[in-house]
């Protein structure tokens, strides 16, 4: 029987992970992830979860331990934030190339410098090109549900890629809400028989040395390397359908139907749209509702799956509007605008007609993006629709 509890986002993630029955968890604490892994330690101590938990000396070791465990056939889980992810980067970069299907929660936090321990999505946005699948959750229930879905996607034979399930630090990690915990039997039958790592594991029938030297200018090197790179792209491409199927399957079993790639909110007749990602979407939807009450035809597109980027879905959803405002919780240095904004622009290029779009950046270092901020963003985007161009991003919390 499923059970309703009132928990914070970190506990919701811990439940999502525990219900997915990982064999191995490796951790190093960091704010705001620490309580998540402490919940897992408690589940293990209470006998609710049967996994090995290794408390190691740093995040580089965390992911390396998981590599070893995953290659040995274990289902693996960890969680980290900002600096922890940065220190993990070397094995992180290697994970998709090795096609190791693990799930790691990112409790999103802004990255130094300047020194900061508060929420922001700079951590995830900085590693978006590496080959991990990225999903972003809006609320505590979605965190809990998305982790089992993530395992289903990661371990799918046509995908075999690691997944980061993102939830915003502070606002979701410590914010409390009602969550319906799925029944263990439902999660078990959803995930099916555990077959984590069929392509590279300790199998006496097929002894193999994983990841020998490839590349170079001669021999089979370049072709092998290209084959692996293309394979990773195929896995990413295949993931789009698998993510949709997995969400649908989850919905049938639990009655909770999450939008798998993007969510369209009041988009049917929208003339102007906001694009959001993560927990900010709740306040943004309220601002859209307010604008609708004032007779303005606003809509919203929320991005759930950021990698692989749902190019077609995003372009189609936005094809009919007259202007778009994309709200980011991170900065793309170099383009000097929001990273999600850049992605949306690239998707829009596939449309026959040009739709003007502009970048808003808010919620950095734990700042709140309020309904008021979204209303300002809506006003500015309406002016864009009327022809007032915006080349520079608007920094929402600049004068708070």
């Amino acid at each position: 029987m499923s059970k309703v509890v009132v928990i914070d986002g970190n506990e919701a993630a811990a439940w999502g992970a525990a219900l997915s029955r990982p064999d191995m968890v490796a951790v190093y604490p960091i704010t705001p992830q620490s309580s998540l892994v402490e919940y897992l330690a408690k589940f293990i101590a209470d006998g609710r979860m049967d996994a090995d938990l290794m408390d190691v000396e740093g995040e580089h070791s965390v992911l390396s331990v998981l590599h070893g465990a995953c290659l040995a056939g274990a289902r693996t889980y960890s969680a980290t934030s900002a600096q922890g992810l940065a220190y993990m980067f070397e094995p992180y970069f290697r994970t998709p190339g090795l096609r190791l299907p693990m799930v790691v929660s990112l409790v999103n936090r802004d990255s130094v410098s300047p020194t900061c321990v508060w929420g922001g999505q700079q951590d995830a946005m900085t590693v978006k090109e590496v080959g991990w699948i990225h999903m972003f959750c809006e609320n505590q229930q979605e965190i809990c549900d998305t982790i089992p879905i993530a395992y289903k996607v990661a371990e799918h034979p046509e995908v075999m890629l690691p997944v980061n399930v993102n939830h915003d630090g502070n606002y979701l990690s410590y914010g409390v809400a009602k969550v319906e915990l799925p029944d263990q039997a439902v999660v078990d039958s959803f995930l099916g028989e555990k077959n984590v790592n069929w392509h590279a594991c300790l199998d006496p029938e097929r002894p193999m040395a994983v990841d020998p030297l490839t590349g170079g200018a001669t021999g089979a090197g370049p072709a092998t390397f290209v084959r692996y790179r293309k394979g990773l792209c195929s896995g990413m491409r295949a993931a789009l359908d698998v993510i949709v199927e997995a969400h649908a399957d989850w919905g049938r079993r639990t009655g909770r139907h999450w939008s798998p790639l993007i969510e369209k909110y009041r988009m049917e007749d929208a003339e102007v749209a906001l694009v959001t990602i993560g927990s900010m979407s709740g306040a943004a939807k309220d601002a859209v509702d307010e604008a609708r009450l004032d007779g303005r035809r606003l809509g919203l597109v929320k991005i759930k799956t950021f990698r692989p980027f749902p190019v077609v879905q995003v372009a189609q959803a936005l094809s009919k509007v007259r202007a778009i405002g994309v709200v980011d919780r991170a900065v793309n240095f170099g383009w000097n605008c929001g990273p999600v904004f850049q992605e949306v622009l690239a998707a829009l290029y596939h449309l026959p007609l040009r739709v003007p779009a502009m970048s808003f950046i808010g919620g950095l270092a734990g700042a709140d993006i309020t309904v008021e901020h979204f209303s300002q963003a809506i006003d500015r985007t309406l002016r864009l629709a009327a022809g007032e161009l915006a080349v520079e991003p608007v920094w929402l919390n600049e004068n708070d």
Partner: protein, 276 residues
């Protein structure tokens, strides 16, 4: 007439940033030991660089009035070595916690000891990760069950930072207790004056996550012998030690690190060059 500026007092080495450590945290005493030591040495503030990592303890440079850098978790020693090699005329201090120095930064600790760059490193040891709310560190006893991350204890043997430092080649090793800041100040002065890599472990209670460490004041005891000069002897003593002996435990005589094939200019050299 030759007017001389009055000598700096320990308060002159304090910044006006108010520490946000918990009331009763041992790190306050370490801060006051550092500022006392610097006043005793009489070094001008601009000739001192103080580098830390991340942790409650690693906030210490912000509370002093010398050049400070709040580094990356675990990397204080690598950064400090960079500062010292680029500016050999500076007095370089590094500090941080047991987690910063021995867990995530353990690798650097070993290499800093063996490289023997002329600097002084203070580990404020509270046998816990204070900043992330109380997880076991490499100096935590294996049966400490109060951490939510290891509710049954770590089951892993802790390291003694002084033994590790000795084995890896540190040239000066001392252990102090935050409850005795004057003694800690003296160790810092001696450490700075001793050439090469000087390591000072300060038992610095975390009153919030390890309240039982208040008892340390009745457990610590001074060394009953003068500092060992020979490694084997120091090793022998440390092997039999309970981890609560305070004092200078080792004074070696290895020559400090010199970068190969390069005579680094001192600030005075640069000034002379500029004048000529």
């Amino acid at each position: 007439m030759n007017v001389q500026a009055p000598p700096l007092t320990h308060n002159d080495y304090k910044s006006d940033v108010k520490p946000i450590w918990c009331p009763g945290c041992g790190d306050y005493a370490v801060l006051s030991a550092v500022t006392r030591a610097l006043a005793d040495l009489g070094r001008p503030r601009e000739q001192i660089a103080f580098i830390s990592g991340i942790g409650c303890s690693s906030r210490i440079p912000a509370y002093t009035n010398v050049y400070g850098f709040h580094g990356v978790h675990g990397r204080a020693l690598a950064i400090a070595a960079g500062v010292k090699l680029a500016r050999p005329d500076l007095t370089v201090l590094a500090a941080g916690g047991d987690g910063d120095g021995l867990s995530i930064g353990g690798n650097h600790f070993m290499h800093a000891c063996r490289r023997n760059v002329d600097m002084t490193y203070i580990v404020m040891d509270n046998e816990v990760y204070g900043m992330t709310k109380g997880q076991a560190s490499p100096t935590t006893a294996p049966d400490w069950c109060k951490s939510k991350l290891t509710p049954e204890g770590t089951g892993i043997a802790p390291v003694d930072p002084c033994r590790l430092a000795l084995a890896a080649g540190a040239n000066f090793i001392a252990r102090g207790f935050a409850g005795n800041p004057n003694e800690v100040a003296r160790f810092i002065v001696e450490g700075i004056n001793h050439p090469g890599f000087s390591f000072i472990q300060v038992l610095s209670p975390c009153v919030t996550y390890r309240p039982e460490q208040r008892e340390w004041k009745s457990i610590v005891h001074p060394a009953d012998a003068s500092p060992a000069q020979i490694m084997a002897e120091a090793m022998h003593r440390l092997a039999a030690d309970d981890g609560f002996t305070t004092g200078v435990l080792f004074q070696g005589n290895r020559a400090p690190f010199q970068p190969i094939g390069k005579n680094v200019a001192t600030f005075a050299d640069l000034e002379r060059k500029f004048e000529s």
